[in-house]
């Protein structure tokens, strides 16, 4: 009984950690630009696909991973520069279409530059399962937890302890004021996309040994990351992390105890349910519209 529960919990935490990273990616870009980047899932996919392809081509794994992260960040920067920046001040719907267009473009490009096959990476430290009170935990899951935790702590440090990070936060609170004190808003936007791409790609790299990846893998991961971000309240980093973990765990429990076919639907059922009662997510700012 308990062992099964623990097993579901482990698997939920693993995917939840990835959703949390993706959700954080949404939150960072949203804070900097009020854009919801529907291509967020593509960063995850690119991270996984690029590292797997490089490893398969004989590049040593650490180098392959670093390269994959850099590629993904470059894509993020290019996306901001060529697709988002020229359309500043456009409608919400317009920007949604642009980022969805970007995601379709990236999928198409990956399919051509790489291929349509499924890829995997070797697990970072072997595949001997660890027994925990009757349940088993794959070492790679530990890697996922640890890397996600490191990323989150690193981000916290970046936003609270470095000048540039603080400047980014300031921009999200008040763009004009930030501009007045000399924060380069353009630079902040670029950095937010690079950072989100990095988060996504890291998630993609660490999870690929567990889930495999192909050019379409980003769609669902991206949408789940979006639900994590909305669940936590858009623009709330901590909320996105908790949102991601909730989505991951509930999804795993539901697919274990209810129906595995509906696994992918669970995230959206939760999100609808939460939005019905809390239109700004769990931790979102509740504002009265000023008129």
């Amino acid at each position: 009984m308990f062992a099964a529960f623990l097993q579901y919990l482990f698997s939920g935490l693993t995917s939840g950690a990835i959703y949390a990273l993706a959700g954080l990616g949404f939150a960072i870009i949203y804070n900097a630009s009020h854009v919801i980047n529907f291509a967020q899932g593509e960063f995850i996919m690119i991270g996984g696909m690029a590292s797997a392809t490089l490893v398969a081509a004989g590049v040593p794994m650490p180098l392959a991973i670093v390269l994959a992260l850099l590629i993904s960040m470059a894509v993020g920067v290019a996306l901001e520069k060529f697709a988002i920046e020229p359309a500043r001040n456009a409608d919400v719907v317009t920007i949604i279409i642009i980022t969805i267009g970007a995601s379709i473009f990236l999928r198409g490009a990956t399919q051509i530059i790489l291929d349509k096959e499924f890829h995997s990476l070797p697990a970072f430290s072997g595949e001997t399962p660890i027994g925990v009170m009757g349940a088993t935990l794959m070492p790679q899951s530990l890697w996922v937890f640890a890397v996600a935790a490191v990323m989150i702590v690193g981000l916290w440090w970046f936003f609270n302890r470095t000048m540039f990070g603080k400047a980014m936060l300031a921009t999200s609170h008040n763009r004009l004021a930030a501009q007045l004190v000399g924060v380069g808003v353009k630079k902040v936007l670029l950095a937010s996309f690079a950072l989100s791409a990095l988060l996504g790609a890291v998630g993609g790299v660490v999870v690929t040994p567990i889930t495999f990846t192909n050019y379409e893998a980003g769609i669902m991961l991206g949408l789940k990351g979006f639900s994590a971000a909305v669940l936590g309240g858009l623009g709330n980093g901590g909320g996105a992390i908790i949102g991601g973990l909730i989505v991951g765990i509930v999804e795993a429990l539901a697919s274990g105890y209810l129906s595995s076919a509906y696994k992918d639907a669970i995230a959206f059922v939760i999100i609808l349910f939460v939005l019905f009662f809390m239109p700004n997510g769990l931790f979102g700012k509740r504002g009265t519209d000023r008129v």
């Binding site: 279409i97 999928r107 909305v230």
Partner: protein, 305 residues
């Protein structure tokens, strides 16, 4: 309007085989859905990333009712449309309180849930393998063959455009557009904004459902993927590409995006990339969409003379 009728009537002159008719029917089906969706997105300013779900429900409703319960096609179409309308009404109330990205998320969720249900309940829907159904029969008359469908779709498209144009230039339509302009501004002169948002959501869902039913009969075979997230995105792209808040823009967008894959058939592997570039490019350089941007250009050129 007359121009549209002429185009619909004259297009077949260039059709050399039934394949052209087939593409034409699909283009017009999409156009009808987009005319409905545009009322929601373009005029009332509320996004939906889940309308392919309503389309698929219409299609599956017709398929189930005609094959399992022997309901006549027109009855199945009507019942499906009523059920979809009711569903849209029930979910519309709470979700249309949401704004912007939250609304996008909620409608997207509804679309995906519908898609997954259709894929999973294989007892009824045949699962991912899809299900087949018969021709559309009514009053002893069978609609079959691409040519006949072409004329049916053409008439329906013109009807849909007529209805949409009527609505937009009416007290109800002005109230809808006012919701887009300023909700509180509309409220203080007596517009019950939430009811109007739900109303237009239901109307656009019913448009999608009816076309879904017809599409199912025409194709004779449907799979759950007609209701995928990508399907919804495709519909929204048609609307936005052609021109939000422009009935004819929606038609133009639907026709272009339906024809695109046919044109790109020779470079099939690049199709996704090209579609992506078109989506980004139009939105960056013509954020108002093709038709309104072109019309504005024409206008300013005339004014310049």
């Amino acid at each position: 309007m007359a121009l549209l009728a002429i185009v619909v009537a004259a297009a077949p002159i260039g059709f050399t085989n039934s394949y052209f008719y087939d593409v034409g029917v699909n283009a017009m089906f999409n156009a009808i859905v987009c005319v409905g969706l545009n009322l929601l997105i373009g005029y009332a300013g509320q996004i939906s990333l889940g309308h392919a779900g309503f389309f698929a429900l219409g299609a599956y409703g017709s398929a189930l009712l005609t094959t399992m319960y022997n309901v006549p096609p027109i009855g199945a179409l009507t019942i499906s449309a009523l059920v979809v309308g009711l569903l849209a009404f029930v979910v519309g109330r709470p979700i249309l309180k949401l704004k912007g990205h939250y609304l996008a998320m909620a409608t997207l969720g509804i679309g995906i849930i519908i898609h997954i249900v259709l894929k999973t309940e294989s007892k009824f829907t045949g699962g991912p393998d899809g299900m087949s159904l018969d021709n559309f029969k009514m009053l002893g008359f069978t609609v079959m063959g691409d040519r006949m469908w072409y004329w049916v779709a053409g008439v329906l498209l013109i009807l849909a455009v007529w209805l949409a144009l009527n609505l937009i230039d009416s007290p109800v339509g002005r109230a809808l557009r006012a919701v887009h302009g300023s909700e509180v501004g509309a409220e203080v002169v007596g517009v019950d904004t939430s009811s109007y948002k739900v109303l237009v959501f239901v109307v656009s869902a019913v448009f999608a459902s009816v076309v879904g039913s017809l599409f199912a009969h025409k194709n004779g075979f449907i799979t759950p993927d007609i209701g995928s997230f990508f399907g919804s995105v495709h519909l929204v792209t048609m609307v936005v590409l052609g021109g939000m808040a422009s009935v004819f823009g929606a038609v133009v967008g639907a026709v272009i995006l339906t024809l695109l894959p046919q044109v790109l058939a020779s470079v099939e592997q690049y199709e996704a990339m090209i579609l992506g570039v078109i989506m980004m490019g139009t939105m960056i350089f013509m954020p108002k969409g093709l038709l309104p941007s072109l019309l504005a250009k024409l206008k300013s050129r005339e004014a310049g003379r």
